[in-house]
Symmetry: C2
Subunit: 339 residues, 2 copies
């Protein structure tokens, strides 16, 4: 028999469909002996529940969704998403819940996907990334009553659950390290300013500047692309008074910046120190290898999965979990300033 159903098992065991359902789901209603017999028969017939049938009856589909709103071109090189995805998967696999991934162009399309998923009952919940300052997705999800967890940003008061790392502390650890090396002119090639984490990093740097005696600490916004990262670096290094260190908001931009420095004959780390937010193979492949802030993105994903499952189980729960602080991995791209 190709694909046995619980009716087949019930026949074979000489019991009713209901009894089989009870037995297979580990709930009371059958004796231990009967349960064991049913389980054995099911095993022997290699029965597996039909996901659609279960979804229809139990009104949950054992599937969650992740939508990423970025052009595919820039996606590939960023290990962040691959690691996050693996972590999510690992956190979900225990309950054999599947993960749906969708890449879209922008937030409008993203919300449209949530709407569709919700009305088609395709997912039990979703994971949100790249939270912006007044993010329209939060309200949209609230309205849809679709369980959700924000990764890398705080959901806010009576808003969505979240799993976040402290971007402020992370930025401080970088700046303090550079200041301790003797740097006083530190520039920050930031990401898109409407991302919450970008804002928090900018503010952290601005706040720390006076205390650390930094004479100049500008944050320059970009769109996270390698092109703008390079252009901004070029501008910074063309000034009469150059920064002695640059902090980049992503590894891709840091690599692009390193290229510009080499091209302009600015030696790294001799004339310029470089630090990247986000670590990856990319930073390690470079010469010199880049000092970078390492986050355990995999664990991040796993925790997000856990929180999402809790929220799905109890939609009224508001969980804001803080993850382990990222650590600075010092490599070859940072040194005391030469002058």
């Amino acid at each position: 028999m190709a694909r046995p159903t619980i009716a087949d098992i019930a026949d074979r065991a000489g019991v009713s469909k209901g009894a089989v359902s009870f037995a297979l789901n580990g709930r009371p209603g059958v004796s231990d002996a009967t349960r064991a017999r049913i389980l054995e028969i099911a095993e022997q017939m290699s029965w597996r529940p039909h996901s659609a049938a279960r979804a229809l009856g139990a009104s949950r589909v054992d599937s969650v969704g992740l939508v990423i709103a970025r052009p595919a071109r820039t996606l590939g090189v960023e290990p962040f998403f691959a690691h996050l995805f693996s972590g999510l998967q690992s956190g979900l696999s225990a309950q054999s819940i599947s993960l749906q991934l969708l890449i879209v162009e922008d937030t409008v399309a993203e919300i449209e996907v949530y709407r569709r998923w919700s009305s088609e009952h395709r997912v039990d919940g979703v994971i949100l990334v790249d939270l912006t300052v007044r993010d329209p997705r939060v309200d949209a999800l609230k309205a849809l009553e679709l369980p959700a967890v924000v990764v890398g940003g705080r959901g806010g008061k009576d808003a969505l659950a979240s799993v976040w790392a402290d971007d402020r502390d992370a930025m401080l650890s970088i700046v303090e390290y550079l200041a301790a090396l003797g740097h006083r002119r530190i520039a920050h090639v930031a990401g898109t300013p409407n991302f919450q984490h970008t804002q928090r990093r900018i503010k952290a740097l601005r706040d720390a500047a006076p205390r650390l005696g930094l004479t100049d600490a500008p944050s320059l916004p970009t769109d996270f692309s390698d092109a703008e990262g390079a252009a901004t670096t070029r501008k910074l290094l063309s000034q009469s008074v150059r920064p002695t260190a640059i902090i980049y908001d992503s590894d891709v931009m840091a690599v692009a910046g390193l290229g510009v420095a080499m091209e302009m004959g600015v030696s790294v780390p001799g004339d310029l120190s470089i630090v990247a937010f986000d670590d990856s193979i990319l930073t390690q492949l470079m010469h010199p290898a880049l000092t970078a802030l390492s986050r355990d993105t995999f664990d991040f994903g796993r925790q997000a999965a856990e929180v999402l499952l809790e929220v799905i189980a109890d939609p009224s729960a508001v969980i804001n979990r803080r993850t382990a602080d990222p650590v600075l991995t010092v490599r070859e791209s940072t040194a005391p300033p030469s002058h």
Copy 2:
């Protein structure tokens, strides 16, 4: 009303559930007038089919799967998968079929996933990547009778459908280009030899060597990692008679190789030309930017999606579609040999 069902629509339109189903699926059984009325009401109530209900009734789930068997660590930087994924998605979105992604450790786990997906009816078909020489997945999928399409390798006689590019021609275009520049000692840092495409590249190089007058054309196997790419490069450049050009089977390895060359004081492209199979931001970020073989991976994905849908519609169909040939993008890492 929160989530209307076809019963609600039927009520409102004063017809039966069956009529509504016919109307919404564009099949005969209702008059044009009635159909229009039903469609309007459905639109107005913003009805969307419940995916599980439809799956149960129609015995298709409108979802296909992609399993990637690679450690997550190496996955992130390779834009190949992100682009392939986007392409697949784009090819599937027309029929609003969703795409399930799963990352696993090895092929054994991958087959296990297919088995589970099949028995739980979670997908209508799957896409296979990284085909090996005597790939156990092919037989497994045949046995499961799960529609599948192989990307980047030929399914083989009465085997699976496939979408493939000609790796042989690709390798030839690279070697001929290098030979035309004057190179005679060309090395090939290959991938895992049990991948079909790796084998085809190795064979193409070996076949072309005599014709092009290459004095030496070794193919050295690696595991595709940056570490082995670097180590192999180091070995090649430490020989008394060095190759004047190296072809790498992936962009990541090429970047690692470039790093080794710089470190050893071998100038690129002065003393050594470098070519990468697979193009990406990575190759463009380098200094010098790497000459690379560009494939339209997005289109690759889209075509794979099309073929898969055909195979799902008619499982007896055997389709082997050849895609556009990859083209060599010449950048700064290749030049005539200095001696």
